[in-house]
Amino acid sequence: MMGRERIVALLAILAAGAFVLALRLFAMQVVNADEWRSEGDALGARFTTIPFRRGAILDRLGRPIAVDEDSFALDFEYAAFRSRHPLGQAASVRSILEGRIVSHSEIAANPEGTAVSIGAVTPAQIANVWIRSERSAARVALAALLRLDRAQGRQLAAQVADRSNRPISELYASKIAELPARLAAGRDDLARLDALLDRAAGTTLGEIDARRLRILQDVEVRISRLRERGGSGALDPEDTAEERVQRRRQREVWLERFMSDVSYEAAELVAARPDRLPGFSVSESMTRRYREPILPRFVGTVARPADDELAEAEQSRQRVEELARLLSPTEEQQQELTDLRRKLREEQYTPGDVSGKSGIEFQYEDVLRGTRGWKIELVSRRGGEAERVQSKAPENGRDVTLTLDLELQEACERVLRSGLPTLPGQPIRGAITLVDVATGDVLAAAAQPSYTRDDLKDPARWDAVRRVDEDPRSRAKPLSHRAFHPYYPPAPGSVFKVVTAIAALERGIVDPSTKHLCGGVIGTLKCEGHHGEIDLRTAMEVSCNVYFGWLGERLGRTALQDSARRFGFGSPTGFSPIEVPGSLELQSEDLELLRRFGIGYTLTVTPLQVARLYGAIASDGRLRPLRSVRSVGSFELPLREGVDLHISSENLSILRESLRAVVHRGTARDSGLFELGAAGKTGTAEVDAKGVDNHAWFAGYAPFDAPRVAFAMYVERVPIHGKDITPMARALLSSGALRPYLRP
């Protein structure tokens, strides 16, 4: 019979269907189980980054100048605050039922009023809330706010379902009576946190309100879109996919860095009272600390990454999304995706990061920066206990060891700050530089006026510093470091005469015995005295302008400029990328200009260039590029040979002897530097012809017999002469910090 056969056929179809399903289940649960399991682990996982320690900046002896220290940061999760803090719960209930955003501050200001308005709520009002999820949110928040137990919670749900019109104050009178005290206690907990954070009471709550507004904007948009469609409380099925993604994003945004570098007391309060301060959590982070007050201009600063640095990560993120959407990515695209993901996780800047903004911090950013670590934990959608699945430890940044000697640097700064006896009470504008003659290591580079880290931290003080710097009437210019990028690059004056001397000797224009008559004046240039018939050595000793002006004339424009260039002027020394090179401009062959160039007037230089030149004279006639960094991590930067200036040893010894004579019986004979074993040259570069507005220079090296360090210092625009700043050199050379360098 046909019906019978067809029933058997149906049975066969049923069996076949079951068989197919059985095969499928076997394939999924036995053959591919591991793949699905790892896929499952990837879902619902929480990704956390672990900060790296930024490399330290050390002085040449390994003393810390800038280091990352462990500190505490305060994180905040709005969702947890809203559902567990009484103020959050009250704000949530009232906002939903009143149809406006009721701020936490408003509730904190008036706990009694809130208790009254919540007491007036009826279950029917909750039942009338239009959006389903909001409706249940209001009920759950109310139950939590009133601390209803499970049975009472169910009772409340039943009352909502019944649309009861009795107010809450009647239904749960005792609970409502407790409410003002609970709200006030919640407010006081936050005020205690404010006090420990050194802020006015209510600040934290205000910030939470601001954050909440930002989060709610998104939700508001969603709700209004639904309302426009006139849809029901439930979300349209077509929306759910998009909404789900949005909600996920929001969750990610919700855990935020609230404050970094908080005090131990504040961190302890939050950690000890998770139930009193829900939503807050303490995490460990890094804070950059500097040895004060040293060289902010040179060492530099760190701050939140710049927008373009952050934009890089954003670009990667977009590209990752693009690649992730591809159905069948090629091998290269797969590789690119993996690389970009790694970069995003470990390398690229995130808003919580810092990046070097200036100085060494900026220059060596790539070295100092480490790579972030991360961990992936499995978490439930509600947060809660986590299980670590995968992690990578952070790689700390590498240390940068500078050539600077911290003590010496401080000694130089002290010397500059203590002023000069000839300029009592007047702050010095100038710089001191110290260079190791054998290596070109810059041991110290101090300048005044400057600013300190404290100025950088305090916006008001920083504004004041900037105002001074931008003031056209003020010559202070604290933002320019006079050792290597002076705002007004100074003329070297007589310290330049060594260049003129060597150029003339090498070209055979003079020999050590050639005499020239100094009558006190040459062209418009005047001399300090009438020196009479003098040779080169004496001219150097007494710093005779007539003699060197005459040499300038004889050498001519090309020879002068070439020699200056050969001795390192007009180009950076290699110390810092923001160095000012100075100018060697010489407009014409005009004799007047040649004479002035010959005595170091028309060109501009930096103290570092001068110190380098004296270092070359002091050592073996090699001009070494200066360096600021000795080693990066464990890698010692190789020393560079420098350029051999090809000064004959005869000429070199003539120069050295004359520099020795300067401090012995010449312009600096009263300085006491001879006794300290130094040699050097004074210089006075007139800014105007009256002789009361000069750059006063002193440059030299020590010890004379076996030179170890070369130095150059100048004071900007003062009514004194080179010989008047020798007390600074004396103070420096006799300081304990320099002593180890002077020993043979």
Partner: protein, 414 residues
């Protein structure tokens, strides 16, 4: 007749397949409660799926006894009446129904009785179509076939409008099976099959909502979903497959499945209950459920084989195919064999109407099988009588068929 007598007779007549059916139903309902308890364990809601579902199942037991006790004759006589009533309720749902999750599926009566008429309509349609096709001559005519299919199409279309594609789909295979078993000509079946395929194709091409089309697309390339799609259009499918696949051979254990416990699996107590079972009890648990879900309709079909009386046989087949289709499609959706659609897993998925109606359907089928004359292939009504069926549905029928083999003296008299 007393219920105890009925049960005794039934046991004698129904035999092993019925025991299988009852045992499978009981086992599945218990497993459903286990799933509910596991979902409760993961949920922080104060309401408990376990208690609610247990209460409904408890309500289903007396309903079953009633369904088992009523006379098939009455059932047959009222088949069209039920059908019309259900159709009316479906229309009422579209007009005043309660909206849940974007669909209008619920009817509320008096504020406390809440149910989905679409579930009731499945049973009513089976009975009505069985009655239409019970007459051999009609079943063999093309008009009769079309009439039977139309009877299925009307509630299906109303349910599709709710929208509830999953439930609507179930009507078609059940109607087709009844028509085929009733003796429709092969050519007619082929034509109808071709029409249905065309209709389905048109529906897929033009009639689907955007999200439904997305789901079909995701299903077609389930192996190569992008990360974004796994979070959006392909979310249900992907999560369900992750849950099932990661269950492995023995599963994570009760209330230990990460996808379930972390609230990542959508609709885990209703449409994706199978994924919870597969995740927490592994391949072993999944096979047990698969076996039980297949054994239930298989037992009913075997019972149908013994039944000679047309209406009863066809109604049993209709109910069996409904349950079987639901079970296979639900598990197929969860494992990615079929595109994602919301359809309950019989007796396991949480849901009052569905569970009670499934239990009642099984009871009705057993009732019909237990009463049916095993040897005589008698028609209950003559074709002429059937032509004015709608007028007569409410009137008492002349007794033409002895539904009991007991001596005439013991027959109930009217």
């Amino acid at each position: 007749m007393k219920l105890t007598e009925r049960l005794a007779i039934a046991r004698e007549r129904l035999g092993a397949p019925a025991i299988v059916v009852v045992a499978a139903a009981a086992a599945l309902a218990s497993i459903g409660l286990v799933v509910c308890a596991s979902v409760d364990h993961a949920s922080e809601k104060s309401s408990s799926y376990f208690t609610l579902q247990a209460g409904r199942l408890a309500l289903g037991v007396p309903a079953c006894l009633v369904a088992f006790w009523i006379r098939p004759r009455w059932l047959r006589a009222q088949a069209y009446g039920f059908y019309v009533a259900c159709a009316a309720m479906l229309i009422a749902v579209l007009l005043f129904g309660r909206v849940v999750n974007g669909s209008r599926r619920w009817l509320e009566i008096g504020g406390f009785l809440r149910f989905q008429p679409s579930d009731l309509a499945k049973l009513a349609a089976s009975l009505a179509i069985a009655r239409i096709c019970a007459i051999r001559a009609r079943a063999e005519s093309f008009g009769g076939v079309l009439c039977a299919l139309a009877a299925a199409a009307v509630p299906a279309a109303l349910i599709l409008k709710e929208p509830d594609l999953g439930t609507a789909i179930v009507f078609i295979p059940s109607a087709l099976a009844i028509v085929a078993i009733a003796g429709a000509k092969r050519s007619h079946l082929l034509i109808v099959g071709a029409l249905l395929v065309t209709g389905a194709a048109l529906l897929v091409l033009y009639g689907l909502h955007g999200y439904q089309r997305d789901r079909i697309e995701m299903w077609l390339r389930q192996g190569s979903m992008t990360a974004a799609e796994k979070q959006a259009q392909g979310y249900h499918l992907h999560r369900s497959m992750v849950a099932i696949g990661s269950g492995g051979l023995f599963g994570y254990g009760w209330a230990e499945g990460p996808q379930n416990q972390r609230d990542l699996l959508p609709e885990r107590h209703t449409d994706f209950a199978f994924a919870v079972i597969a995740e927490e009890f592994g391949l072993v648990g999944a096979f047990v459920v698969l076996f039980l879900e297949a054994a239930l309709p298989a037992g009913l079909l075997i019972l149908a084989l013994r039944v000679r009386e047309s209406f009863s046989r066809l109604a049993i087949v209709g109910i069996a195919v409904q349950i079987g289709t639901q079970a296979l499609v639900n598990m197929g959706v969860a494992t990615g064999v079929f595109p994602t659609t919301g359809i309950a897993l019989p007796l396991i998925s949480y849901g009052g109407t569905s569970a009670i109606v499934t239990l009642v359907s099984i009871a009705v089928a057993l009732n019909l099988a237990g009463h049916a004359e095993p040897v005589l292939a008698q028609e209950m009504f003559s074709p002429e009588e059937e032509e004015t069926l709608l007028d007569r549905t409410l009137k008492p029928r002349p007794r033409l068929w002895n539904h009991s083999r007991r001596p005439a003296t013991e027959r109930p008299r009217r």
